[in-house]
Symmetry: C3
Subunit: 127 residues, 3 copies
């Protein structure tokens, strides 16, 4: 089993969710996080390359203001090993704009999953 | 070492916390998350099967409203390998109602733990 | 690749961020979490050992009040295997006060990383 953790733009959440559901992965968890990438946050020119950021008023008092923390959404889902390639493809298609800030996807090992309702474990508990 | 991640109903947090403490696991982290399971969210009939949801007003404007994201609490704790079975048992007992929405427990590998105060590492830093 | 997850005091975030950036690790994610350690929360004497807590009014109605959940910040970054020692050292230096509540650092395995913008994978996608 694997845990897929995807950091995506906030406005891409509905598209990501729909794409995952259409591909057979309705179960996921969402969290609000803040982050920054290798460019160390985005400057006041951010609104030009990402309209989403023009709405982030608290971070943009002046054109030259540096955005240190960018609001993101973190999607988490647990899948079977053989589904990793498919899920990554779905998330890439739903989130790739080609601009900085498209986010990242992490694939992490999971040793076991337990469904609380039935106490099922392993692959049977994944979905 | 293992990381135990449990997604539980919000109103089960106190019981989970008490059960873990009684079993010798007082240290844990809690986060607010939203999620949905394989049923893809819960419809307006939700209140009938889970009274907790009748309080989730913003999601339930009409009886037929579909709840897409259900508020959950995510509990995380780091334990030793030999403690996995015990902790899972404690969490199952505290959270199993037999109804949809009981949540899931994930067991993930952890390579190392460092206690910042003392710089201790490994098992010595777990608790 | 490894995921470094650090639970630190809220007021140590700027110092942690600066230290990581100076050491060549500008990319990270931050989340607000609540937690408690092996001492099971901190009592009303907390303000004496940690001035930060004197600001946590909702938890401290009376001197003898027990703080059950302490607000913390969770920093997450993905690094290469060979960078683990360096990053842990940077985080220890930025967060070690010697008092309870300094936090913990977890090192977790990551199987793969995908940069959404370019679809790069593996080490090339880490930074």
């Amino acid at each position: 089993m694997k845990e897929i953790v995807a950091f995506v733009r906030r406005h891409q959440v509905p598209a990501s969710k729909k794409a995952l559901e259409d591909a057979g992965f309705p179960a996921l968890t969402i969290q609000s996080v803040e982050g920054r990438g290798k460019q160390g946050g985005i400057g006041g020119w951010a609104a030009e390359i990402d309209p989403e950021l023009s709405k982030v008023k608290p971070y943009m008092d002046a054109p030259e203001t540096r955005i240190n923390w960018i609001p993101k959404r973190m999607l988490t889902l647990i899948i079977q090993d053989k589904e990793v390639e498919k899920v990554v493809k779905v998330l890439l298609e739903a989130n790739q704009t080609g601009h900085m800030g498209d986010g990242k996807i992490f694939v992490c090992p999971v040793q076991d999953v337990i469904r609380v309702r039935t106490a099922e474990t392993g692959e049977a508990a994944v979905i």
